[in-house]
């Protein structure tokens, strides 16, 4: 199949439309505005609806309404806007509605900056909104993988009736690469027999979309049901890539854009005779803790590299579980981790200097 050269943000839109997404609600923010712009141009051509909302709060609530009404729907934003969406995301998770949320992360906290960052890891994987809920968080490291995960992401959302987040960063949003649109693996998708269409179902029963369970025992049961679903997701959907981990003296962990820098650093390390490997989580939640079990026995040390001052490293520590030291190197605020600094850090760790 012929490949198209596309900018990351536009490729997300193209993949979403290919996946049957027909509704987009969003609000402009750098560095993801090419995505709503693309959707405003392309969705009407396929009979879809693009709507620029008055705020990210409104946009995510429009997603709630549209998803509750049975549509395949998405929104996108960047860090400060995602913070505003957190209320709605909690309601969507509570009401078990499928949707795709894209976060093209920029530096924070506060207004922060507009350059790429990975400092929304905690927000994406550990809550952000209130309550015991989970977002399925997918972290591509190329435009091609971003397209694949967007297309599969809609199916994952439908399969589990759960919101899915694509966690990218400004680099992935802005760069151009050749992509092709591949059908995701076939999944058994349950019928949306819960959607409020206004028309009651065959038995004349009305439908209700709600996250409200006023009786404590009902709310506990609802939460227990959600937890069972999350266990199922952990079992079926955890995804990572491992590179030369088995005989590595040091195992690095990185996701997204950072993993590309790290894989270059690993090549450089090989040239000077250092055996380094990499675990690249593709799902940040569920996190691939299992990938660390064997590695924690075989490797001497671990190094996590992030475009933040240390967020995912906490999950790596949980995975390694105290068996070996876990080190951290990160840059933040839009500064990229530097390959030579990674190499130097590894030399120091293995040389016993830190």
């Amino acid at each position: 199949m012929a490949k198209d050269l596309m900018k990351g943000n536009e490729a997300i839109g193209a993949a979403a439309i290919k996946a049957g997404c027909r509704y987009f609600f969003g609000y402009p923010i750098t560095p993801q505005s090419e995505l709503p712009e693309y959707m405003s141009r392309e969705l009407p051509k396929v009979g879809g609806v693009f709507l620029q909302a008055e705020s990210e709060v409104a946009a995510i609530n429009m997603v709630y309404g549209a998803s509750g009404a049975g549509a395949r729907v998405m929104t996108s934003s960047s860090s400060p806007g995602i913070s505003l969406k957190m209320e709605g995301i909690s309601y969507i998770a509570g009401a078990e509605l499928p949707c795709l949320i894209v976060n093209i992360v920029r530096g924070g906290p506060g207004l922060g900056g507009i350059q790429p960052a990975q400092s929304d890891y905690f927000q994406a994987t550990k809550g952000g909104g209130h309550g015991d809920y989970r977002l399925i968080v997918l972290a591509p490291n190329s435009i091609q993988e971003m397209c694949d995960l967007v297309m599969d992401g809609f199916d994952i959302a439908d399969q589990y009736r759960n919101p899915v987040m694509i966690l990218g960063d400004g680099t992935l949003g802005q760069m151009m690469e050749a992509v092709e649109f591949n059908e995701p693996k076939k999944r058994e998708l349950p019928p949306k027999d819960w959607a409020t269409t206004g028309i009651k179902d065959k038995n004349g029963k009305k439908r209700l979309i709600s996250s409200l369970f006023i009786q404590p025992e009902d709310l506990e049961n609802h939460n227990l049901k959600l937890q069972m679903k999350y266990e199922e997701i952990k079992k079926n959907e955890t995804k990572f890539e491992s590179l030369d981990v088995d005989d590595a003296d040091i195992v690095l962990t990185a996701y997204g854009t950072t993993s590309r820098i790290v894989s270059n650093a690993i090549k450089a390390l090989k040239k000077i005779g250092i055996k380094a490997g990499m675990i690249r989580p593709i799902t940040l939640w569920p996190f691939p803790y299992g990938a660390y079990e064997k590695a924690a026995d075989s490797a001497k040390a671990f190094l996590t590299v992030e475009m933040s001052l240390g967020q995912m490293v906490e999950d790596v520590r949980l995975g390694v579980n105290g068996k070996k030291p876990v080190y951290f190197y990160g840059r933040t605020g839009g500064m990229l981790p530097d390959q030579t600094e990674i190499v130097e850090k590894v030399k120091k760790i293995l040389g016993g200097e830190i």
Partner: protein, 248 residues
């Protein structure tokens, strides 16, 4: 024997949880009667607010979505854009619509969303125990304004209908009251018009219903109806607000 009065089939048999004398129940019934009379019960989705009327979805017999506090117009927008031929309405209190949800209602009206909004203004936060609302009258006591709303501290109450009526795509805005049978009948015809507008696709329609909260106003139901008539109506005049607008 001839039946002269019965429950509309738009209402479920569930016993309402409202306090004695609360007018939420009357407004529910009016909405229900209109849904039945216009024969749109089986094509309607309602969006329930956060407030005393959250559980409206237990009482009105149509599909429903429960929205976050103030966000009902955004949720309704999502539903209506997916099912443009269905009937979508929100039912919101004054804390919900006139405070935390001001942005959502203003922009739904600005876009001329083809939805119907039932706005129940009881000048108080009922559900949370009688705190001051933006609609609380100057001097009116509330649990967070124990000496009465001080207009120097909080300004004067917000008139949402008048504000929204400045928007060209807000095609129908009317304020009604339910403090006596004559006004209840008028309220019903405004609600009916607001739904008819949606059927014909005219544009955004909202009915503001002046309503009582005897519990938090600390009055008997009858005193509350009197208080509404004597205090709310002078500040919140009844009738169609702004001229009916033609939208191209």
């Amino acid at each position: 024997m001839k039946t002269v009065f019965d429950r509309t089939k738009a209402l479920t048999p569930a016993a309402m949880h409202y306090c004695p004398g609360c007018t939420h129940g009357i407004v529910h019934r009016l909405v229900g009667e209109v849904l039945e009379e216009l024969d749109i019960l089986d094509k309607s989705t309602m969006v329930a607010p956060v407030g005393c009327s959250t559980f409206i979805y237990d009482y009105i017999n149509c599909d429903a979505q429960q929205a976050a506090h103030g966000r009902a117009p955004a949720v309704a927008t999502g539903i209506k854009r997916v099912h443009p031929d269905s009937i979508v309405f929100t039912y919101q209190g004054d804390g919900d619509l006139a405070s935390i949800g001001t942005a959502e209602i203003v922009h739904a009206a600005m876009r001329g969303e083809r939805i119907t909004v039932i706005f129940v203004n009881n000048a108080i936060y009922g559900m949370t125990g009688g705190q001051m609302a933006p609609t609380t009258l100057a001097g009116q006591k509330a649990s967070t304004a124990p000496l009465g709303r001080d207009k120097l501290h909080y300004g004067m109450p917000i008139r949402m209908s008048e504000m929204l009526a400045t928007l060209d795509s807000a095609t129908f805005i009317e304020r009604v009251s339910v403090h006596d049978p004559a006004h209840i009948r008028k309220a019903k015809s405004a609600i009916k018009k607001a739904f008819e507008n949606q059927i014909t696709g005219v544009g955004f329609s909202m009915v503001e219903v002046l309503s009582t909260c005897p519990t938090n106003w600390k009055m008997t139901p009858v005193e509350a109806l009197e208080w509404l008539k004597d205090n709310m109506i002078p500040y919140y005049p009844l009738g169609n607000i702004g001229n009916p607008k033609e939208v191209e």
